[in-house]
């Protein structure tokens, strides 16, 4: 069970003066219960990649398979793919439209033709997973805080029972506690078996929570590996638009100046090592 991408290429407006190569030469695989983060500068192709994962866009070269189903505009299984891969767009709260939270979350399963009892079960389940109890059912989604709206938007994707969840900049505009809650929620979903694909600018977030990170630069795959691989590669070569977290930069600078410190994004570890060294 995995999403396999091989040599993906996507060009917007091919053959016109507006022609733009958004992605090329992308190879990656995403498994269930795995957390992949895609980072890159604005315009690096992150959102274009996200839209390929649930067949909103189709590759012009290369292949994408979701659980062995080839994504092709003529495929008869696109519905299945769109159910398997839930996509949470940038600023998802702007897509809320129903009068009550219940109806909002029930929209997807009702649309798939699921029977009413199962709809009720799924809505309840999805809202529990995002931490909203039954007192929210009849409230209007428009009177919620920014963080709560985003939870409703995620619940309305979860109610389709996806195996993979793709989130495009889900923390944009959220405050510190909202960000923390959301990351905790995603970690819980991964524990439940979902494959998580997080799209973000935030390397600090990516390094803290992912098993694999894909770094895009101008539509090309620059690095694809573990957080440690990515730190190594970004220390060797500056990537347009991305900056390593300041704590990582600092540990690297101190290391280059001759202090024997680990290169890390963990400020507590770095402080501990520095305090021990200086005290000695």
């Amino acid at each position: 069970m995995s999403i396999e991408i091989h040599n993906l290429k996507h060009v917007y407006h091919p053959g016109t003066p507006l022609e733009t190569i958004a992605l090329q030469g992308i190879d990656l695989s995403i498994h269930m219960k795995q957390w992949l983060t895609v980072v890159g500068h604005t315009g690096s192709g992150k959102s274009t990649l996200a839209q390929h994962l649930n067949a909103l866009l189709f590759c012009q070269e290369g292949t994408i398979k979701v659980d062995s189903i080839s994504l092709d505009p003529r495929s008869k299984q696109l519905r299945t793919v769109r159910q398997k891969v839930g996509l949470v767009f940038q600023y998802p709260e702007q897509q809320l439209f129903a009068e009550t939270i219940y109806d909002e979350v029930a929209f997807a399963p009702r649309n798939w033709g699921v029977d009413p009892d199962t709809v009720a079960e799924r809505v309840e389940n999805a809202l529990v997973r995002v931490g909203l109890n039954s007192s929210f059912y009849q409230r209007s989604p428009f009177h919620l805080s920014g963080g709560e709206k985003r939870r409703v938007a995620i619940a309305s994707v979860l109610s389709a029972n996806p195996d993979y969840l793709v989130l495009d900049e889900p923390t944009a505009g959220l405050d510190a506690s909202g960000r923390k809650d959301l990351m905790g929620l995603l970690a819980g979903l991964r524990e439940d078996g979902l494959g998580i694909v997080l799209i973000t600018h935030d390397l600090e977030l990516a390094l803290a929570c992912s098993e694999k990170i894909l770094v895009l630069e101008h539509g090309r795959q620059l690095t694809y590996g573990t957080p440690e691989n990515v730190i190594d590669s970004l220390l060797k070569r500056h990537v347009y638009g991305l900056l390593l977290p300041e704590v990582v930069q600092m540990s690297h600078e101190l290391f280059l100046k001759g202090l024997d410190v680990p290169i890390t994004g963990d400020e507590f570890l770095l402080a501990q090592v520095l305090i021990e060294k200086v005290r000695k």
């Binding site: 923390k180 347009y240 638009g241 600092m250 101190l254 100046k257 402080a271 520095l274 305090i275």
Partner: protein, 275 residues
């Protein structure tokens, strides 16, 4: 009121129609010309509402807001206020009006009635300042989220306003884009522009003169960024997060490894440890 006061708010309340609770509850605030003020606070603390009060998009339901000595309650002042106070909103899609990048940037200066050569100059400068020069003739709908956000800032800068209010202008920018925008603002600040900058990201406020912390519709704290960081974890009660580098700085400072005078920045700490 002295001429160098840009914003003067007296006991400002604001309540959205149909809402039970006021979004702003008695704000008293003065901002001087040339100040760079950061407005921080958690979601729902009233930051964006206050920003809209500062550009007369919202009028206080109680109390008074004077903008460059003009009362925002007087409808004849509204256009004069908005031509002086430019505003960049959170969501760039809501403020892009034209289909080509350069036309969109020119929209503000055109409406100010400037001559074509001036408009062209301002457009060139603001696209350069926001790193969009290569997109000048591109379609606005084809831009990425972060590029749209840069365009929204470019449109406001092209009006070369004396005052600019930015509501989370970096939410969708990559770290380099964020740094670039802060550099542009820092330059404009040196040239005397008054800046009100709203952000969740506390690490972005280090270059500001003054930080105002909003909490539940009130001003909870007002001072310099350096003084704010002296609170340490205390700022979490306002829904703010201490940046990792500042956490490291305060651990080293508390352990006596670096002196109190060291700045809470990467360069400050590195220099203190390895001069």
């Amino acid at each position: 009121m002295p001429e160098d006061v840009v914003f003067s708010l007296r006991d400002v309340y604001f309540k959205y129609p149909g809402s039970d609770e006021a979004a702003l509850k008695g704000i008293d605030l003065e901002v001087q010309a040339g100040e760079w003020v950061a407005l921080v606070g958690s979601n729902g603390s009233g930051k964006s509402t206050l920003a809209r009060i500062l550009n007369a998009l919202l009028i206080p339901t109680q109390g008074a807001c004077f903008i460059l000595d003009m009362d925002s309650k007087e409808s004849e002042n509204i256009w004069a206020i908005r031509s002086k106070v430019a505003m960049v909103f959170q969501n760039p899609d809501n403020q892009i009006v034209a289909s080509v990048v350069e036309d969109d940037t020119a929209f503000g200066p055109e409406n100010l009635g400037l001559c074509p050569s001036d408009i062209c100059e301002k457009v060139t400068w603001s696209l350069d300042a926001t790193g969009l020069t290569e997109y000048r003739n591109k379609a606005t709908y084809a831009l990425s989220g972060g590029q749209k956000q840069r365009l929204a800032v470019a449109g406001a800068l092209a009006m070369t306003p004396p005052v600019i209010v930015l509501d989370e202008p970096t939410a969708m920018l990559d770290p380099q884009g964020r740094k670039d925008l802060l550099n542009v603002l820092s330059e404009l600040h040196m040239q005397g522009m008054t800046i009100v900058y709203i952000s969740h990201r506390i690490e972005e406020i280090l270059s500001c003169d003054r930080v105002i912390v909003m909490n539940e519709g009130n001003v909870s704290w007002d001072g310099t960024p350096r003084d704010l960081f002296e609170f340490g974890k205390g700022i979490e009660k306002w829904g703010l997060e201490v940046p990792p580098i500042v956490r490291l700085w305060s651990m080293l400072k508390n352990a006596g490894i670096i002196s109190k005078e060291v700045q809470p920045t990467k360069d400050g700490v590195v220099h203190a440890l390895c001069p």
